[in-house]
Symmetry: C2
Subunit: 215 residues, 2 copies
């Protein structure tokens, strides 16, 4: 798949060797997490908050209550910036200065459009639910008219994006090698534990068991 275009806003300046603009790479990082952190401006001040989301090709989907400050700010500005980050390892070097993490992160800059028809809103919510747990939409009750009325659904067309991947081994500086401090890596994992069924449910279905295996 092609790259997201490098523009002034998405070009990675610090650690540019780690930068990736490939769409597949950006999408795979977005798909590996439950939530993103989204930035918006209210009264000239920057805000940031966590929110779940969905993705379909180069489009992301969010939903929020009609009274939500974030939803309103995004619609009003027509622009969205969001970021996701996964920590894969902590790198503890012999010097304080060189401590770092291996991580995968993505930043997305997009154009916001509110979805108004029930058909469009359902497609957006389907993307969100299936991003949460793949195939989940096919295994739960769909929203009815009242529920659709109670939520606003936003589509973000990804205009540009970047990813950063740090996955290198730890390297102490030459000057530190002989110091009597410990250096090493602590791997970090997100683990999904065995699902706990409610009393009104039978044993977990395959789409849930598959999801829990992902790490």
């Amino acid at each position: 798949m092609a790259d997201y275009q490098k523009t002034k806003i998405n070009t990675v300046r610090r650690g540019s060797k780690k930068a990736k603009y490939n769409k597949d790479t950006v999408h795979s990082i977005l798909d590996a997490v439950e939530i993103c952190h989204i930035a918006f401006i209210v009264d000239g001040k920057p805000f940031v908050q966590p929110i779940n989301f969905g993705r379909k090709d180069g489009f992301l989907y969010l939903h929020g209550s009609p009274k939500n400050r974030m939803t309103n700010a995004l619609i009003e500005s027509g622009k969205a910036t969001l970021s996701v980050t996964i920590i894969d390892a902590m790198k503890l070097t012999k010097s304080a200065f060189n401590h770092s993490v291996n991580y995968r992160s993505a930043v997305v800059f997009g154009k916001v459009r509110e979805l108004h028809t029930n058909e469009e809103k359902l497609e957006g919510l389907k993307a969100i639910i299936n991003h949460f747990v793949p195939e989940r939409w096919e295994h739960c009750r769909r929203p009815d008219k009242d529920e659709l009325l109670a939520t606003r659904v936003l589509e973000i067309e990804i205009e540009t994006a970047s990813a950063k991947i740090a996955d290198t081994p730890l390297e102490d500086k030459e000057r530190d090698l002989e110091l009597d401090y410990w250096s090493g890596i602590i791997p970090v994992e997100t683990n999904y534990r065995d699902p706990i069924s409610t009393k009104n449910s039978n044993s977990p279905p395959e789409h849930v068991l598959d999801f829990c295996k992902k790490n």
Copy 2:
């Protein structure tokens, strides 16, 4: 410990039953994560990116290269907004609409000051390293003059903040109880695996082993 003052910007509007303003609660969520997502404005546009940080009482510490766009934007504006989020469980209800997560999140609004003396910068970096892994600062080489020159250290005085904690059991709506869909909870954990020593190190010291036990 006292609460952070509720003001127009930090008062939680959506899901206000989950809101906490207690300083201990906010600090414990900040201390449980490796990175935050920080929002800033450049040329009128909102940006958000991940960054590691430290905390000492009601102050947070960040560091960045002198050329870093974020560092410069934060110093110029004098204000910082940042957010951290921990997902504890995914709640899969019988209806699409009621899916949610149990989580702990915090949002901080603060005043930014750059630290200039080597003494102040070292205190800030110590907070960052000991937030990464407690007691780490005492077990690695401290930054020298050249390293201090190569990094800018920012102090964020927390002016106000809020936390949100969702930790309730899953509840399907009455109308959905008899539907033949599965509902249940998937617990989510961040796990720290056994540390991997570099070839120039002996077995991991106690502060590292203690850290890895934290989940």
